[in-house]
C-alpha cells in the first residue's frame, strides 16, 4: 500500500514539476517580450498627442455600450465620465438589463431622460427593449431598458441599436480616462490589416481620489486584499497581454474596456449566451469565424488607454469574481477547442491557445493540489526535504520576481503613484501577495474549474459600492 502511495505521489510530483517548468518558462519569455514591447510603446505614446485622430474626418464614430444590472451606486458616475471622453463622434448606449434596483430611475433623474419610441432591428439574438430613454439636450446618450437576460443579451441589444462601425464595451463600474478612446482607436487606424478588437489597460480605482467621473489622484486602497489585486492587475495587464500581443497570440481581452468591429461581431453571431465570460468567448468566435471565411483579422492590445475599475473588497466577492472568470475560461476553451493546436491560426493556435487551455485554465488546479501533495510527499518520504524547500523557494521566489518587475515596469511606463511611499508599499505587496493571497486565489479559481466539471454553470453577481469620494 505504502509503495503504491509513493508511486502515485511520484507521478503527481512529476505533473507538478512539468507544470512548473512550462508555466515559468512561458512567463519568462512573456516577461522579456513585455519589457521590450511596453517600454517601446510607452515611449511612442509619450510623443503622440492623438490630434491627428481627433481632428481627422476619417476617424470612425464609436458607440460605447454599457450593460448595467443593479448598478445604482455607480452608473451615474460612469455615464458622466463617458460623456466627457475626448473623441470626435461618440454615442453612449446604456442597456439596463432589467435591474431590480434604482439603476434606471437614477439615470432618468440624473440626465433628465424622457421615454421615446425608436426603431429596433434585431440582427443578433436578444430580447427587444421595452423602452428607450433619451434627453434631446444630450443627443449622445441613449438608455435602453429590457427584461433581464444576462450581460451577453444586454450587449447584443446594444449591438442591435449600434450604428457606428466600431463599438466599445464598458462595464458600468468602470471609469474611462479622457483620451482612452483616441488611444484605443490609434492602433486601429495605424494597422496595415483589419483590426477587429482593440483592448486597453484596466487598473483598480479603489483608494484613488475619484470625483465627477474622473480619477483625479491615484492612491492605494487601504485593505490588503485590494492592494494585492492592484499588483495582480498590473502583472496581468503589463506582462501577459502585451507579451501575447507581440506574438500575435492574444486571446483574452477585458470586456470591461475593449473596442470591437461591429459588423464582424454581428457576422460571428454576436455575444454568446452560453458562457459566463462573453468577452473571451466573443474573441474566440471572431477568430473561428474569420478563419472559416479565410479573412485576415488582427487583434491588438495597447497599454496607454486606461480604464479604472472597482475591485472586490471582500474575500466573498473576490471568490465569486474569480470563480466566474475561471468558469468562463473553461467554458470558452471547451467551446472553441478547435483553436487549440490549429496550424491555421499560427501562433495563436500553436502557442497561445494550448497555453491558455492547459496552463491558464487548469494550472490553478495543479497549484492548489500541489500545495497539498508536496508536503504529503515530504511527510511520507517520497521527496527529500532539500528538494521540497528548493521547489517552494523557486515557486515563491519566481512569483515574487514577476510581480516586483511588473510593478517597477508600471512605475516606469504608465501613470505613477504620486507618493514614493505608495510605490514602496506596492513593491512590498508584490512580495507579500505570494504568501497567502495567490494560493487563496488559486483555490478560488480551482473551485471554478470544478463548478464546470460538475455542471454548475451560472453567473455569480459581484456587488459594487462605487469608488467616488
Amino acid at each position: 500500500m505504502h509503495s503504491i502511495l509513493l508511486q502515485a505521489l511520484d507521478y503527481a510530483d512529476l505533473i507538478i514539476l512539468i507544470y512548473f517548468i512550462v508555466a515559468n518558462a512561458v512567463y519568462t519569455v512573456l516577461m522579456v517580450i513585455s519589457l521590450y514591447a511596453v517600454t517601446l510603446h510607452s515611449r511612442f505614446a509619450a510623443r503622440t498627442s492623438h490630434a491627428d485622430i481627433s481632428d481627422s474626418p476619417a476617424t470612425p464614430p464609436i458607440t460605447l455600450i454599457v450593460p448595467a444590472y443593479n448598478e445604482q451606486d455607480v452608473i451615474a458616475t460612469t455615464v458622466r465620465a463617458l460623456l466627457k471622453l475626448e473623441y470626435p463622434e461618440k454615442e453612449i448606449l446604456v442597456v439596463d438589463d432589467g435591474s431590480t434596483d434604482q439603476t434606471l430611475s437614477r439615470l432618468i433623474a440624473e440626465f433628465g431622460l424622457q421615454r421615446m419610441d425608436l426603431i429596433y432591428r434585431e440582427r443578433v439574438p436578444s430580447k427587444a427593449p421595452w423602452g428607450f430613454f433619451l434627453n434631446p439636450e444630450i443627443p449622445t446618450l441613449l438608455v435602453l431598458a429590457k427584461e433581464h437576460g444576462g450581460k451577453a443579451a444586454a450587449l447584443n441589444a446594444g449591438l442591435n441599436m449600434c450604428r457606428s462601425p466600431y463599438f466599445c464595451t464598458v462595464d458600468a463600474d468602470s471609469i474611462v480616462e479622457r483620451k482612452a478612446l483616441l488611444r484605443l482607436m490609434a492602433p486601429v487606424m495605424q494597422a496595415p490589416s483589419n483590426v477587429l478588437v482593440s483592448g486597453g489597460l484596466v487598473r483598480i480605482a479603489n483608494g484613488s481620489n475619484v470625483g465627477d467621473g474622473e480619477v483625479n489622484e491615484i492612491g492605494l486602497p487601504g485593505s490588503w486584499i485590494e492592494r494585492c489585486q492592484v499588483v495582480e492587475y498590473i502583472r496581468t495587464f503589463l506582462f501577459g497581454r502585451p507579451g501575447w500581443n507581440f506574438l500575435n497570440g492574444n486571446f483574452i481581452t477585458s470586456g470591461a474596456f475593449c473596442m470591437l468591429h461591429r459588423e464582424s461581431v454581428i457576422l460571428a453571431g454576436g455575444f454568446g449566451r452560453n458562457t459566463v465570460t462573453e468577452d473571451i468567448d466573443m474573441i474566440a468566435s471572431l477568430y473561428t469565424f474569420f478563419e472559416k471565411k479565410r479573412w485576415q483579422a488582427q487583434m491588438v492590445f495597447t497599454t496607454d488607454p486606461v480604464c479604472w475599475t472597482e475591485c472586490p473588497k471582500t474575500l466573498k466577492m473576490l471568490a465569486r469574481q474569480r470563480r466566474r472568470w475561471q468558469l468562463g475560461l473553461v467554458q470558452t476553451v471547451f467551446k472553441h477547442d478547435r483553436l487549440i493546436f490549429s496550424w491555421k491560426h499560427g501562433r495563436l493556435g500553436m502557442l497561445s491557445m494550448p497555453f491558455h487551455a492547459y496552463v491558464e485554465t487548469f494550472g490553478c488546479v495543479v497549484e492548489t493540489f500541489g500545495l497539498l501533495i508536496l508536503p504529503l510527499s515530504l511527510f511520507v518520504g517520497a521527496m527529500p526535504l532539500s528538494l521540497f524547500l528548493l521547489i517552494m523557494f523557486l515557486a515563491v521566489g519566481y512569483g515574487t520576481l514577476l510581480s516586483v518587475v511588473s510593478v517597477l515596469l508600471a512605475e516606469a511606463t504608465i501613470r505613477r503613484y504620486p507618493k514614493f511611499s505608495e510605490m514602496l508599499l506596492l513593491v512590498l505587496y508584490a512580495f507579500l501577495e505570494n504568501f497567502g493571497y495567490r494560493q487563496v486565489v488559486s483555490a478560488m479559481r480551482a473551485h471554478g474549474v470544478f463548478q464546470f466539471l460538475f455542471g454548475k454553470r451560472h453567473w455569480e453577481v459581484v456587488s459594487h459600492q462605487g469608488v467616488e469620494a
Partner: protein, 78 residues
C-alpha cells in the same frame, strides 16, 4: 447548425489524454525503476551492512534491471 460533438472528441480532453498517457508511460514504464533497489540499499546501510547495500544505492540509472529483484542481484546473504 453545428453538428453535435461528443465530449471525448474535444481537443482539450484529447490533449489531456495524450499528456497523461505519455507521462504515465514515462513514470511507470520507461523511467528506470530504481526505488526498490534504493530502499533495500538504504535499509542494509542503516542496519550496518554497508558493503552489501552499496551496489543497490549506487546502481546507475542507465542500467536498470527491472526483471531481477534486489535480493537476486546481491547474491546469497552472508
Amino acid at each position: 447548425m453545428e453538428r453535435r460533438r461528443f465530449w471525448f472528441t474535444n481537443r482539450v480532453v484529447l490533449g489531456f489524454v495524450a499528456f497523461f498517457t505519455v507521462t504515465a508511460l514515462w513514470e511507470f514504464k520507461w523511467k528506470p525503476q530504481l526505488r526498490n533497489y534504493y530502499q533495500v540499499g538504504v535499509r542494509l546501510y542503516q542496519s550496518g551492512k554497508n558493503p552489501q547495500g552499496q551496489p543497490d544505492v549506487a546502481k546507475p540509472p542507465a542500467k536498470p534491471s527491472p526483471k531481477s529483484s534486489p535480493a537476486e542481484s546481491r547474491g546469497p546473504a552472508q
